[in-house]
Amino acid sequence: MASINITIHVVPPPAGLSVSLALQTGTLVFDQANAADIGDYIGPVVHQKCFVQSQGEWTVFFRPDADGNRDEIVVEYGTRYNFSSFPIRSATGMYDPAAKIGGQPAPPPYPAQVIAPYVATISKNGAVIATANVPYHWWRARWRWQSAPRPVVKGLADLVAAKQILPLDLAMAWNTTSPNWNITWSGPMGTAGLTTGMGTTGDRPEIGFVTEIQADYLLNGTASSLTAMLAQAEAAGSMGIFIRDMATGAFVDFTAHPYLSLTSGNDVFGGKTHTIPAAPSGRPNPNYFVLDLAHWPAVSYVPWLLTDDPYFLESVQAGGLFSIIFTNGPAQARGLPGMAEPVQARAYAWGLREVMRAAAFSPVAPPSWLNSKAQWSNGANDNLSYMQYETDGGSTDGRNTIFHMIASENKALAAFEVDYQDVVLGWILWSGLFDAGWVPPVTWAAGCRFGLTADPGDGPGWDRRYPVPYNVLFPANPFPPGYGWLQLWNDFLAANPSVNPGSWPPNTFVPANNVQTGYAYWARASLASLIRGGLAGAANPYAWLYGQVTSAPILARNVPSGFKWAISPS
């Protein structure tokens, strides 16, 4: 009868954090003790360490605060890529489904969404301190566990003083009240009330220079807006925008690796597919974010500034990168790899917003897992070059030369999109943080808004009583000789018989509906920003429009102007 003596050794756990991911395909264990130290984030308030460990397509960051008072674990999936050769591959060597090698489809397997739920068990020094139920995990997305949220340490006055956002004034918010936002963070892959089908038309709270929730918090300090604002900043992690370079650990440098694209299959040039490998197209469920730059919400920027939380800074940088690589055709055509995608004026507005914010406020000497201010300054410079080309006579397109449109791909004049742009452009000048070369193109671009609100005493042109038209069709290029604002107005009337200026009182804003009333408030904000930017030409249009939108008949329409558009001109 055989027997054996055995000894089983149970040792103290490795010091620090660990997490196990009980995936349907097996359990992955990540330990801080086995992770690489990739450098501390040292911000104005936060000093956070960062250790990283990757297994397959999974990456875990262990981020305890340097003082030991707060712990954080970030779980990413499908966020690391090999950019050393084409076609681009994921961490495990997967190609995009549309990539070609020698004219033939790149071999499978291809990236895939994780659609089966998994449990993450988080431990510290061997003791389980939290578990997280993850319902699914999208390719290029992430989530985090934190022992405590970072406190808000700044306010509106601080952000304005640093020129990080335009000044907001409650006196510039009409018919607007604070609701109970009732938005909380539901956990990994949550959406926090954001519209997941981003291309959905129409205004919504998250669209703007800042979001309505952020503006509500900044102006009113309401508890529900703070909760909602931070929840939406967490939800940025659920968006598939986190694209790291395996060689650096940071988000891919758009200058070192130019003209990358998220648009699968139609971006082959120079014999190379520039697509970053993606999971097959399709929407696994309604909580999957279908991304669209034209409706890109800036959910992370203000929370980052208020808290100095580098997790939010990462989302700011990832969003800026998304703004550049949404598609790559315009940037490649112009040789400007850091140019925001300009297919629509609103897309360029929000893309420019993202790139310029990252350029202005990214750390000068960040740890390896963040991009530097210098890298982002390349983006700012490329956008300046683009603006200069569009506005200094390089273009022969009448939309540019006559109507001072920037995003030349636009087929029609959508005034509200121009106002989005002007809010951003006014901030660029007002901030004083950028090259003085921005002054001429911004001054030039403001001509579109000025043309829509020109004083009739200055001569015939667009009738400013209708200052925010929606999608005015341009004639085909080349425009007829002598074509200008008056001719565009006449063509607009011809195409819209219901618009009857003959019935309007003189010199009075006559909105056709409440949507246009709302648009007019945005136009006021646009002009306020341009005044902030030092454009003297904005003063008279602003004075007229301010008088109109604050007149008793307009206010009586009870259309909320919104906190987010409460930009003050002085």
Binding site: I4, I8, H9, V10, V11
Partner: protein, 91 residues
């Protein structure tokens, strides 16, 4: 009528001649959850069909299934000297 007789033939398992233990890991990090597989036991000859017997000072902290999988019966704390077990393949 022809005579008949019932016959019962009993084939005993051969006695175990050797036993080997393959740990799932060289060591385990505390706390080890109950149910964690600690290792596997194999007996020679392969035809052995007997029962395992656990003994030793720490036997109460472990369980051994009929197919030779040793698991933790309770959460295991740090033991710098090691948990001591004797596994016997009987008979």
């Amino acid at each position: 009528m022809a005579a008949s007789a019932g016959v019962v033939i009993i084939v005993n398992s051969p006695p175990s001649t050797a036993i080997t233990y393959t740990p799932a890991a060289p060591s385990f990090n505390a706390p080890v959850p109950a149910g964690t597989v600690m290792g596997n036991v194999a007996v020679q000859p392969p035809e052995w069909k007997g029962a395992f017997v656990l003994s030793g000072p720490d036997q109460g902290s472990f369980a051994l299934s009929t197919d030779g999988v040793l698991t933790a019966a309770v959460p295991l704390a740090v033991n710098t000297d090691g948990y001591k077990l004797i596994i016997t393949a009987a008979p």
